[in-house]
């Protein structure tokens, strides 16, 4: 931990908490199952996704991808491609202008969305199989694709590090993991483990996974002269993309406008700047035409990273009571040779259980593969698979119910930092989930339930995900007609952003929802951070809250210029927003509407822009969401086929702002977890580093028939230390899922499968 961080953390601990927000108790719109405002435009086709904007004179680009994982381009003959029908330009490292490499991904005051340090199209070096080596621009997408297929570079191939498994002996401990120490320890974990009667010691592996959002990555670039750019890009981070693209092409950030209101699924795969965006801008610059670049599904596999593979060891020793005496979680993930992202799989046990001693550590290796990136609950999703499978195994070792074992190790304070929990109701979530699932009816013995050829089992696991809040700016305006505009550059990836933020602003301003317009997805609006880490909802909400306070203060002072005003003499603490205006708390009938105040003041509007402060509260408190996942599986005794037949997810995520959209997020996370557990795997050929299943036919995401009915329950207990009492809900759903399934499979069959995905051959 660096000194600056230590100073800030010390400061954070003495900082007073934010005043309690009275909206935590309000239920006019917040907490209501309001249908998506963007639902109708989406199903009627009125909503434009990035590739769909009608642009006059649009031409199209296609990428040529390398077919080796390491080496150099010796020759690249583009003459045939240049002569192909409709071709306007062929760009390679031989003729591309110099571009700057965007700095690595960063949120905060200097946002950047860089994903790799490879000099795309400015080098003859190849670092991964699939690296772009040329771009073709043509009149139609088909002409561009065809011409691209005519380019066959000659390579001098070198042996790359293609195999994660073989790279493990070279693993190193990184300096830090997202600002945290790569290793934390207390006591003599190994000695305690060795001397313990009750213990488990298991090694787990998880495969690489790829993003498969329904909307393919896509960009349209339109230059205005040499110094201004409009970019439609499917992005979870318009501000980061704008800053990074400005840096790459030497532009002022304010001259790059990134527009991305609708994103057809992100999950982390659209958080970074992937090469297609830069190449689209480059192609447009060189041809002087607006250019669209939409990689194919296979292209997305080749140039957009996914989840790292991992190898993890979990060893736990326990007293006969079940109390953990030591806890070891250590392992290795991969990153590419040209990025830095050691995925934080070791975070869950740092906060989940009371432990007298522990060693929690992680290392990372470098492979010649496309840079790994965020994928729904990076770290926690694969980390909980290992940890929660091992705890299940320990429960059998101790002959204890798996829920009971977890409850016996509930901590009073964060076990590693010692911080107080801001809000932790995992016990309540387990009680609710177990009740809904009927856990008490589950026979303890493995292999004891059968329906014909199907063996039945039930499993459970804990899920967890941190509460992150990021610095966010928002502008709020109240107009003379009594409507309000809220603006921030944040994203709508389908999770209900527009809906929930409109609910919030309407509740905050005491306006009907129809009078609030929430504008987003445009980098020229006040900067929001990346829509990632389940941070967006509360981060935006706080910015809007504070901007609204400023607007109301100004309205109050305007009103008080009129000595006749019912608000005369009132201080800010004496009033609140009510009935489309400002009213006294002690005399609720005394006040003025926004319309009246602005009319009297002769103003068209009042507005305020506000940027939130750093999330010091997350240093003072241990802030996390929790899940108790319960499932039932059926395993065919002959074929080993697994079917998930029942699911109950019980969540403790602070206050739920919109049950409809939140439950949809929980379900989506669980479904993605079912794929992670049973069917998904990116097949990197160890000989070539090449992905061999880059399609939805061969990369098996769950289909409808793989997904059972999913019941969701939640505690709905407000966290006093978060905006609106809420937590983000985008990522928690997937955590614990793979472990719950593996544990249910063990219950059904007696087989403990420690490597994902759990395909049928592992159970035959």
């Amino acid at each position: 931990m660096n000194i600056l961080r230590k100073v800030v953390e010390t400061f954070a601990h003495v900082m007073p908490d934010r005043d309690r927000d009275e909206l935590i108790q309000r239920h006019r719109f917040l907490g209501q199952p309001i249908s998506r405002l963007d639902g109708r435009p989406k199903v009627t086709g009125a909503a434009h996704f990035s590739a769909e904007y009608p642009v006059e004179g649009l031409v199209h680009a296609a990428i040529v991808y390398s077919t080796i994982s390491k080496g150099a381009i010796v020759a690249i003959d583009t003459s045939t491609a240049q002569q192909a029908p409709g071709v306007l330009s062929v760009i390679t490292h031989l003729n591309a202008p110099q571009m700057k490499v965007p700095p690595p991904f960063s949120v905060g005051d200097s946002p950047s969305s860089g994903t790799t340090l490879v000099k795309i199209l400015n080098t003859d070096r190849i670092s991964w199989n699939g690296q772009p080596v040329a771009v073709v621009v043509a009149d139609t997408p088909e002409q561009a694709e065809h011409a691209a297929s005519l380019i066959h570079p000659v390579y001098a191939a070198e042996p790359g590090v293609n195999s994660f498994e073989e790279s493990i002996p070279q693993a190193k401990q990184p300096k830090e993991i997202m600002g945290e120490a790569p290793e934390v320890k207390k006591g003599s974990a190994d000695v305690i483990l060795k001397d313990s009667i009750h213990r488990v010691d298991l090694t787990f592996t998880t495969p690489p996974y790829n993003h498969n959002a329904i909307e393919l990555h896509a960009a349209i670039a339109i230059w205005d002269g040499n110094d201004k750019l409009t970019l439609y890009d499917t992005s979870q981070f318009t501000a980061g993309t704008a800053a990074s693209i400005a840096g790459v092409f030497g532009l002022k950030t304010e001259n790059v406008r990134v527009i991305s209101p609708f994103v057809g699924g992100g999950f982390g795969g659209k958080g970074g700047l992937w090469p297609y965006t830069q190449l689209c801008v480059l192609a447009s610059r060189i041809t002087g035409r607006p250019v669209r670049l939409t990689p194919s599904r296979a292209g997305v596999f080749r140039i957009v990273g996914g989840r790292t593979p991992s190898q993890q060891r979990v060893a736990i020793a326990a007293e006969p009571s079940g109390k953990f005496s030591t806890f070891i979680h250590e392992g290795v993930t991969a990153q590419s040779t040209d990025n830095h992202f050691p995925e934080q799989f070791s975070f869950p046990p740092r906060h989940l259980y009371a432990m007298d001693s522990y060693r929690i550590a992680q290392k990372v290796t470098e492979v010649n593969r496309v840079a790994n990136t965020f994928m729904r609950a990076p770290g926690e999703s694969i980390g909980t698979f290992a940890v929660e499978s091992a705890i299940d195994a320990l429960a059998y070792e101790l002959n204890l119910d798996p829920v009971e074992l977890r409850m016996r190790n509930e901590p009073d304070r964060d076990p590693v930092s010692g911080n107080e929990f801001s809000s932790r109701y995992l016990r309540e979530a387990y009680t609710m989930g177990a009740d809904k699932f009927g856990w008490k009816n589950r026979p303890a013995a493995v292999g004891s339930q059968r329906d014909g050829d199907w063996l039945i089992g039930q499993g459970t696991a804990t899920g967890t995900y941190p509460v992150y809040r990021v610095v966010t700016a928002a502008r709020l305006r109240i107009n003379a007609d009594g409507t309000a505009h809220v603006q921030t550059s944040c994203q709508e990836m389908g999770m209900g952003t527009e809906t929930v933020q409109t609910q919030h602003a309407a509740e905050r301003l005491a306006l009907p929802m129809e009078k609030v317009k929430f504008e987003y997805g445009d980098s020229t609006l006040p900067a929001a951070s990346v829509a990632g880490g389940s941070s967006q909802t509360i981060s935006v909400a706080l910015a809007v809250h504070e901007a609204a306070d400023n607007v109301i203060k100004e309205l109050l002072s305007l009103a008080q210029k009129d000595s006749e005003s019912a608000l005369a003499g009132a201080k800010f603490d004496d009033i609140h927003a009510a009935k489309e205006g400002i009213f006294r708390r002690d005399h609720p009938h005394l006040g003025q509407t926004y319309v009246a105040i602005l009319k009297h003041a002769g103003k068209d509007f009042v507005e305020a822009e506000h940027k939130t402060g750093a999330p010091l509260e997350t240093m003072k408190y241990s802030m996390h969401s929790y899940a108790a996942q319960f499932c039932e599986v059926r395993v065919h005794r002959l074929s080993g086929e697994v079917r998930v037949s029942r699911w109950v997810g019980a969540f403790d995520c602070g206050r739920i702002l919109n049950p409809k959209t939140a439950v949809s997020q929980f379900r989506g996370g669980i479904i993605m977890g079912i794929g992670m557990a049973l069917t998904e795997e990116t097949m990197f050929d160890d000989r070539t580093g090449r992905i061999m299943n880059p399609s939805l036919a061969e990369y098996h995401v769950p289909v409808q028939a793989d997904v059972p009915h999913i019941d969701i329950v939640y505690t709905d207990i407000a966290d006093p230390h978060t905006p609106l009492g809420a937590h983000g809900v985008g990522e928690i759903g997937i955590t614990g899922v793979a472990a719950a399934i593996a544990n249910a499979i063990h219950h059904a069959t007696g087989k403990r499968i420690t490597s994902l995905p759990i395909t049928l051959d592992k159970l035959m």
Partner: protein, 336 residues
């Protein structure tokens, strides 16, 4: 995808003539029906036909009964129509079941009977033009041999190719003794279904025994396999929209515990829909017991050659054969 000429045929003869007129040595034209596989392959640069002859307007989309009690299915009958056809459901439920286990509803709406027979393998290395593949580029080698081969063949393989034929429908047609009727430059002929697809041998680039320019016009099912008890069982990696790791199609007639008639075929295990003739021979006239089923399954898989990733298929195929035949025996028992 390369540029190509698009031509439209009005009937089978015009289709054959158009194809012949637009084919030269080394530059083949292709018939286009549903296009669910061919168009994909062209987009991936695997098929490079310079001309397509669209046969979807030809009158080959009929299903009707033959005088001997059999059934004739036009080559252009859509998979979804065929699966739902009352005559198929009544007389050859195995075919209907097999089709419904394949692809997705959307694909079945487009795909045709003839096209389903002509579909090509799903081997990862066949689909990737950066990989070596003897089927796509004869003589280049086979990257599947030492690569990802969990989905690959265990029976009838060659040192050149371990690809599988991916069809479900064809497993049923193989089991049910179908006949494929074709027409071509040299006139009409019929092939028993077992002779339509080939084993890879030294020429894995050739999938079928159709001659250049020949067009499938219809498929016949014989009266002899109508109305039998049947089961199609497909084992795969997800509940829908995945190719078979192993599938078993079986139709059977049992009299007093003795197997009178047995039709058994496997999918996902070979370069062609695999008619289990060894097992059939052992079972025909034998008692319908699980011991006999196990012996037959063992004998059928005796010559299987596993690779690193697909050894499990041998045991999976045996277990699935035994399970399917046991299920059919139980069904027959219940019926008598």
């Amino acid at each position: 995808m390369n540029n190509f000429t698009y031509l439209r045929a009005t009937d089978a003869n015009s289709a054959v003539n158009l194809l012949a007129a637009n084919s030269t040595q080394g530059a083949a034209a292709r018939f286009l029906a549903g296009g669910t596989n061919l168009v994909d392959l062209m987009r991936e640069g695997i098929e490079t036909a310079h001309a397509l002859v669209d046969i979807t307007r030809t009158p080959l989309a009929d299903v009707h009964q033959l005088p001997d009690g059999g059934l004739r299915m036009g080559a252009l009958v859509r998979n979804s129509h065929l699966a739902a056809h009352p005559l198929i459901r009544e007389k050859y439920p195995l075919l209907s079941q097999a089709i419904l286990h394949g692809a997705s509803a959307q694909l079945r709406n487009m795909a045709t009977t003839g096209g389903n027979i002509m579909q090509r393998t799903r081997c990862y290395y066949f689909y990737d033009t950066a990989s070596r593949c003897n089927k796509r580029a004869p003589g280049s080698g086979c990257d599947a041999m030492e690569g990802f081969n969990r989905i690959h063949a265990i029976l009838g393989t060659s040192p050149q190719c371990i690809a599988t034929h991916p069809s479900d429908m064809c497993v049923a047609l193989a089991a049910l003794d179908a006949t494929v009727n074709v027409t071509g430059p040299a006139g009409e002929r019929s092939l028993p279904f077992s002779e339509v697809h080939r084993l890879p041998g030294n020429t894995p680039e050739i999938d079928t025994n159709l001659k250049p320019g020949e067009l499938i016009t219809s498929i016949d099912l014989p009266a002899s396999t109508a109305g039998l008890s049947s089961v199609y069982r497909k084992v795969r990696d997800r509940a829908s929209y995945a190719f078979a790791l192993v599938s078993v199609g079986a139709a059977i007639k049992i009299d007093n515990g003795t197997i009178q008639q047995i039709h058994l075929a496997l999918g996902g295990v070979a370069h062609k829909p695999w008619r289990a003739t060894i097992a059939e021979q052992l079972l025909r006239g034998a008692d319908a017991t699980s011991e006999n089923f196990a012996k037959a399954a063992e004998a059928e898989l005796a010559l299987a050659i596993p690779r690193r990733g697909n050894a499990f298929k041998i045991e999976l195929a045996k277990r699935t054969i035994i399970a399917v035949l046991s299920e059919l025996t139980a069904n027959e028992g219940a019926r008598q």
